[in-house]
């Protein structure tokens, strides 16, 4: 065996705290290693060329690259050695950057650790076997989860690219948060006016199959071949008959149903169409409030419906869809008002959230676009906006910035002045974050042209005084206490992950961070991919994002799917389990523990029972290998002998 070792300086990233030349020199002393060198940037074009040259010149048959994390460049170097004629699995990487040079300060210790890490990689690579991918057919359908603006954009781009799209939205209408907004910054164009046509495009696109008011029940399979179970929630209205005429809604005797679309700013009927532009424009019954369900008798809507669409007996229905890729665009949630007892939120009707204010501003909202405060339906003259209501507050578990509040507060201040010219807006802020195109100009306009008074400081307390709300806070620039008597207080509540985000991630087998936002493959270079191949991210499910960013990511995710589907066949990862039938005793414990049902029983010609791996289903976790008592089933590339070689390299030297 002729092992070649390449130690990367990574500029000063590694060489700064690791003596790379010494590592290379030590490696040259190692039996089996016939070539070892250090190089400034191994991942660079000339760096890769050097590897290829050395393979040819020195006749290397195993390669170790000591550089950054294999999560970064393993694929790069696999391709490099493949080009030089070696099997791609004859590569091992030693992570001497993330795991060594960046975290240790002592150069001597770092260097020794790097030597050890490379020795382990050499020990492992000498046990590597050539592995060959097989290819399998791709199901060129894509599932988009979430029908907000990001999901819609992704669905449309995929559909326009010729793919069949299954779009699943959990609420009764697509449109997401954007459909609730009044105007959008920094252009002050009408949100639904630009979103509405997109929504229509979605529903009319022949390549898009829309499941509204539906949720993902189960996801099985792997890239190219996912099996999805979708739960169509019972609406109690047969949507194939419902024309969306609204007669039922008009006659429904229950008037106090919670209005999810309007975030409780108004009430709605027990049977309702969420908003005029809803797509699909179909009615659904909210059994929590419907008298037919709560009291057992009513039946008004059933009587009134001209098409006889009402069905109180309706049950959830499970439908199956097979797809080859998944775009996750499940959006975000908002911090609960109850988290701010000091702001009286939830107790005082005139302390509301930003999104509730959007609905009040909106012409199709409950107040028909007139700004009326919830308590007495009067026009507020003094409006106080409180930014960072929860955001950037470690004690509330939201240390991050919610990204777009600064901008929508400026927008809402402008709109308030537009609606009520003699009004005065105050904005309590920590910092103004307005770094998008045209954003800073916009916040300045709010202050300079629309006279919004920006006070840098936090609000300590809000309490009622007569009909007014007193907002007491600090002005940290002046170093004084401020009190504003407001008619209406709007809290820019923190953006949090969507409810149920963690559960969805678990179904998708993708990672999520402490806050429930989904983790991308690489924060810079693979921003829409996840670590589960075939699953992509779009929009605020990955982190707080405004509309342009969400749309951009939707398109990006779509382009990833399109490029994935540009091939008819995909290559399978050969690092899967393999059974040595001579050693297998047929106890089939591996069958019991395989998380993917990828192992089955096979009877050999001599009648002996053994385990058999279904190659396309095996995901390569290795649970079977650690289950098998006789080592007969081995996860390729992570076999017992490979891991033992690493253990021995550490423990026995």
């Amino acid at each position: 065996m002729r092992v070649g070792v390449f130690i990367c300086h990574c500029g000063n990233n590694i060489a700064g705290t690791v003596d790379v030349a010494r590592v290379a020199a030590e490696m040259r002393k190692l039996p089996g290693v016939v070539y070892a060198t250090n190089y400034m940037y191994t991942c660079s074009e000339p760096g890769q060329e050097e590897i290829k040259q050395a393979i040819r010149k020195e006749g290397l048959d195993r390669i170790v690259v000591a550089a950054c994390s294999p999560r970064m460049h393993e694929n790069t170097f696999r391709k490099t050695i493949e080009k030089a004629g070696l099997n791609r699995y004859f590569l091992e990487m030693a992570n001497i950057r993330e795991h060594i040079s960046w975290i240790g300060e002592d150069k001597e210790l770092n260097t020794n650790k790097a030597i050890e890490a490379v020795k382990m990689a050499v020990a492992k690579v000498m046990n590597n076997k050539p592995l060959y991918s097989s290819s399998f057919k791709v199901n060129k359908r894509v599932l988009v989860i979430g029908g907000g603006v990001a999901g819609m954009q992704a669905a449309l781009d995929c559909a326009d690219g010729g793919l069949d799209v299954v779009l699943v939205e959990k609420s009764p209408s697509i449109g997401g948060m954007m459909s609730r907004l009044d105007k959008t910054f920094p252009t002050i164009d009408c949100s639904i006016c630009i979103l509405g046509p997109k929504m229509v495009d979605v529903v009319q696109h022949e390549k898009i199959k829309l499941y509204a008011y539906s949720e993902i029940d189960e996801i099985k399979g792997y890239v190219g071949n996912y099996q999805i179970k979708i739960r169509k929630k019972a609406t109690y209205v047969d949507w194939s008959k419902c024309t969306g005429c609204g007669a039922c809604m008009e006659k429904c005797p229950t008037r106090n149903a919670y209005d999810h679309f309007n975030f409780g700013v108004a009430t709605t009927r027990a049977i309702n169409i969420p908003f005029p532009q809803a797509i699909p424009k179909k009615a659904k019954i909210d059994p929590e409030f419907c008298r037919q369900f709560t009291k057992g008798k009513c039946g008004v809507c059933a009587k009134i419906c001209p098409t006889g669409a009402i069905n109180y007996e309706m049950k959830d229905e499970i439908v199956a869809e097979d797809v080859g890729a998944i775009i996750v665009a499940t959006g975000y949630g908002l911090f609960d008002l109850d988290k701010f007892p000091e702001y009286g939120a939830g107790r005082y009707p005139d302390v509301i959230t930003g999104i509730q204010y959007e609905r009040i501003l909106n012409a199709s909202g409950p107040t028909s676009g007139h700004i009326l405060r919830p308590s007495d339906q009067t026009e507020p003259k003094t409006v106080v906006f409180v930014s960072c209501a929860g955001s950037r507050d470690k004690s509330l578990g939201v240390p991050y910035c919610s990204n777009f509040c600064c901008m929508y507060i400026a927008k809402q201040a402008i709109l308030t002045k537009d609606h009520i010219p003699d009004s005065q807006s105050y904005v309590f802020y920590m910092d103004i974050r307005s770094n998008g195109k045209g954003y800073d100009e916009f916040t300045r306009r709010a202050q300079e042209e629309y006279g919004a008074k920006y006070i840098r400081g936090r609000v300590a307390k809000i309490y009622p005084k007569g009909k007014k709300m007193v907002v007491r806070g600090a002005d940290t620039l002046l170093g004084t206490q401020v009190e504003v008597e407001a008619d209406l207080v709007v809290l820019a509540t923190a953006v949090i992950s969507a409810p149920g985000a963690a559960g969805m991630a678990e179904k998708l087998h993708i990672s999520y961070d402490t806050f429930g936002f989904y983790v991308e493959s690489h924060p810079k270079l693979r921003p829409v991919e996840t670590n589960t191949s075939g699953v992509y991210l779009a929009g605020a499910c990955q982190g707080p994002k405004d509309i342009p960013a969400s749309v951009g990511q939707g398109s990006a995710a779509a382009s990833k799917v399109l490029s994935l589907f540009s091939k008819d066949m995909l290559e399978s990862d050969p690092a899967i389990a393999q059974v040595n039938i001579n050693a297998c005793v047929g106890c089939l414990k591996c069958v019991k523990t395989c998380p993917f049902q990828a192992i089955k029983e096979e009877v050999l010609r001599n009648g002996r029972k053994v385990a058999k791996v279904i190659e396309t289903v095996c995901a390569g976790c290795g649970v079977c290998t650690s289950t098998c008592p006789c080592g007969a089933i081995q996860l390729q590339h992570f076999t017992d002998n490979q891991l033992l070689a690493e253990v021995n390299a550490i423990c026995q030297s």
């Binding site: 050693a583 005793v585 008592p629 006789c630 080592g631 081995q634 076999t639 002998n641 033992l644």
Partner: protein, 317 residues
């Protein structure tokens, strides 16, 4: 004694099976050895007494034809565990259960009589074994020379059987007593325990009698103690390798050991190897309320999980 009842039961099932596995007299009075009965005449060679210790069920998985087998309460746990793990076909086994009041540990008897050659053995009606040697007779209470497992036996009557030779017996041993020896041993300091195992395992000659006699060691010819692919241990006779082998045996039996004690009974060097497995059983009981070989519908805990593990707490650093 149940000897006649066992013989009757075997005569009854013999036409229906290929072989009936039971016991016969061994090379001396203290030892019995398996008897494979194929024809009725061979039934006369059978014996049944407290020296019938060996767990005969370990022959079952390798036999393809229909067999009959004689089991004590403890032996029947192996059958239950085989059923849990799908290692035998219940249809192909006819079980003659014999309620048991306790067997005799040959090693303990030999210790009592100073390892003298035994001329003969008899049993009286008061639960004693009478051992004849050249230096005279020695009467020992069976309860004093029984294997440790008998002292805390919870299943004197077999858990599964097709025929029961005798009347069922209920255990009179408190349930808490079962793991008492393990808890007591665990009270020792780490250094004491380490020294204990080093001294004991040092004696190991790696003959693998413990493994080959173990009914739950299903790998047998594929055991990783001998393979090089994978190469877990070498053939060196170092303490480390001996230790490693016994840890392999114990870990592979986690949640599966039916505590028949065969590993310990057969060890020519008298190493208390069953203790390691019993320790894991104690933990399996504590963690998952699981006892191997008791419930045919049970699931071995290492091959299943709960999303929320009530008893497993996250460990702090």
């Amino acid at each position: 004694m149940s000897t006649e009842k066992v013989k009757e039961a075997i005569a009854k099932i013999l036409p229906d099976v290929e072989t009936v596995i039971c016991y016969q007299q061994g090379f001396d009075g203290l030892h019995t050895t398996p008897l494979f009965i194929k024809i009725p005449e061979e039934i006369n060679g059978l014996i049944w007494n407290p020296l019938c210790v060996q767990n005969l069920t370990s022959y079952l998985p390798s036999i393809k034809k229909k067999v009959g087998i004689v089991v004590k309460g403890c032996d029947s746990r192996t059958i239950v565990q085989y059923l849990q793990e799908g290692l035998i076909d219940r249809e192909k086994i006819v079980i003659i259960g014999v309620p048991c009041t306790g067997v005799v540990s040959v090693k303990k008897v030999l210790r009592e009589i100073g390892h003298q050659p035994v001329a003969g053995v008899a049993f009286d009606d008061n639960g004693n074994i009478v051992v004849k040697t050249s230096k005279g007779d020695r009467t020992l209470a069976i309860a004093d020379v029984c294997p440790d497992k008998c002292a805390t036996c919870q299943y004197p009557t077999p858990i599964v059987y097709d025929y029961l030779a005798g009347d069922p017996i209920k255990s009179d041993k408190p349930k808490e007593s079962v793991h008492e020896d393990i808890r007591q041993f665990d009270e020792k300091t780490l250094e004491e325990k380490k020294a204990y195992w080093e001294k004991e395992l040092e004696k190991c000659i790696r003959c693998y009698a413990c493994r080959n006699a173990c009914p739950m060691c299903i790998c047998q010819d594929s055991c990783i103690a001998e393979t090089r692919e994978p190469h877990w241990i070498s053939q060196k006779l170092s303490l480390t390798e001996k230790f490693m082998f016994h840890m392999i045996h114990a870990v592979h039996l986690a949640g599966r050991c039916v505590e028949c004690g065969e590993c310990e009974r057969v060890c020519p060097m008298d190493i208390p190897v069953a203790k390691l497995k019993k320790k894991i059983n104690t933990e399996m009981k504590e963690l998952f309320n699981y006892e191997p070989g008791v419930d045919p519908d049970g699931k071995p805990p290492m091959y299943t999980f709960n999303v929320d593990e009530v008893k497993i707490k996250e460990h702090k650093l």
